[in-house]
Symmetry: C2
């Protein structure tokens, strides 16, 4: 199957870079890489043996799949500038409904890898969940086959459910990372190295692979220890961070563990 399939990437950001690289490694032909920025198109195109393009009118007709991997706030603008096609158009967004793509084709789909991507970090794709959706059964089958060459966790998920997963991911990833950054800045003010928290951060993450997070909650709020909470609040100088500390502690205090896994 795979050697016959030609893919054009529209977008050359973090997701496109990791995805194009992983697919290229599996023998797929990456025909073109489009980016508004010539340099970004050049870098990724070179990496995956594709033609760099920075004008949408230069998109080849020869690709079997057009994989659109753009920031959510750019997607619509770019779609409006792509000519109507009969080829399979797929986006990689957790947020956007698949049917947006109807503007460019009748064969549409979604290929959403649920992960946080950094350009300069090696990533093992094999465990990244890939959420697939497609308008036509045969396209869903094709996208699943492609996804299964790079990941062992491929799921058929519709747009509604994908949006929920994307929202949950903001809490699990973006907001937990924000908590790390607050911890980092608290330590930095007192010249304590952030690495002292590394084992704690890893253990906190690993625990929830085996147990519901509500049941692994620890700390002063969980114990209802008002003295510690008050003292912590008095130690925080940033009034917004103080407010966040208070709100989250209140939420932890009213939450009840559950027996369900």
């Amino acid at each position: 199957m795979k050697t016959a399939i030609k893919i054009a990437f529209i977008g050359a950001g973090n997701v496109a870079t990791h995805l194009a690289t992983a697919l290229r490694k599996q023998g797929f032909c990456i025909l073109q890489v489009y980016s508004r920025t010539k340099k970004s198109a050049d870098i990724l195109a070179k990496k995956v043996g594709a033609q760099p393009v920075n004008d949408l009118r230069c998109l080849s007709d020869e690709a079997d799949i057009y994989l659109i991997s753009l920031p959510d706030n750019i997607l619509l603008t770019v779609l409006n500038r792509i000519n109507k096609s009969h080829k399979l158009f797929v986006h990689t967004s957790g947020f956007h409904d698949m049917h947006l793509l109807k503007a460019v084709s009748e064969r549409i789909g979604v290929f959403y890898p649920l992960q946080t991507f950094s350009k300069n970090r090696e990533l093992n794709f094999s465990t990244v969940p890939i959420c697939i959706e497609a308008g036509k059964k045969e396209d869903a089958k094709l996208l699943i086959e492609i996804a299964e060459t790079i990941s062992s966790d491929v799921r058929l998920i519709n747009s509604d459910k994908r949006r929920i997963i994307h929202l949950a991911a903001v809490f699990a990833c973006n907001f937990s990372n924000y908590m790390y950054s607050v911890a980092d800045s608290i330590l930095a003010q007192r010249k304590v190295s952030f690495d002292i928290l590394h084992p704690l951060i890893m253990e906190t993450a690993q625990k929830v692979l085996y147990e519901k997070p509500m049941n692994t909650q620890t700390g002063p709020a969980k114990r209802g220890d008002i003295t510690v909470i008050k003292q912590h609040l008095s130690m925080l100088s940033d009034k917004d961070v103080k407010k966040i500390y208070k709100m989250i502690s209140d939420q932890i205090m009213i939450s009840k563990p559950t027996n369900k896994k």
Copy 2:
């Protein structure tokens, strides 16, 4: 050194259980385990070959070190009921000042393992940072020697700094875990299994072992994508969770990455 040292544990909770077990494994003699609850004292005492005690008046005089591992809000009450001693008294709290222990002895110290402990979870102590403090140099030396038998990361940290580390740990551990639990409940409402987030949670945690968390931030708030943020807010039914989403997104939007590692 170690075989000669006898330790009495005051407290039989998560920290005491993990610590007593780890020290016992290294050949230390755990003389007694005190807990207000007979059952808790019995369980831990049996595990580490100690005498269970649930009356403070039964504390032996023969221990070299009394290791007090109690919830922060109980510590003071228990201290008031311990007879004055000339032995080394040590607490395991990240929060409390060492000098609280002056109420019971002139030889005082702190042995704070920076980790989140669950009773029923095996833990590898060897990478857990242990923060040591002591009133006398020779006691600091002794506590460091003991800590180094179970961990390769032993640090001399005073009470002020330890309190800062404890506050940072609340953000890095307790609050990131709260974010996991919000994600879990968002998914549960739509019957999506939480395991879909496991690779994302692990990658988010692993990233900050190599890079400052502020520089690894991703997501709609980081990109300033107001459309996605508004849609997410409309999807959240709990008004407190909505408020937390908004506050944290605002904070992420105003934060600037830094070049410093």
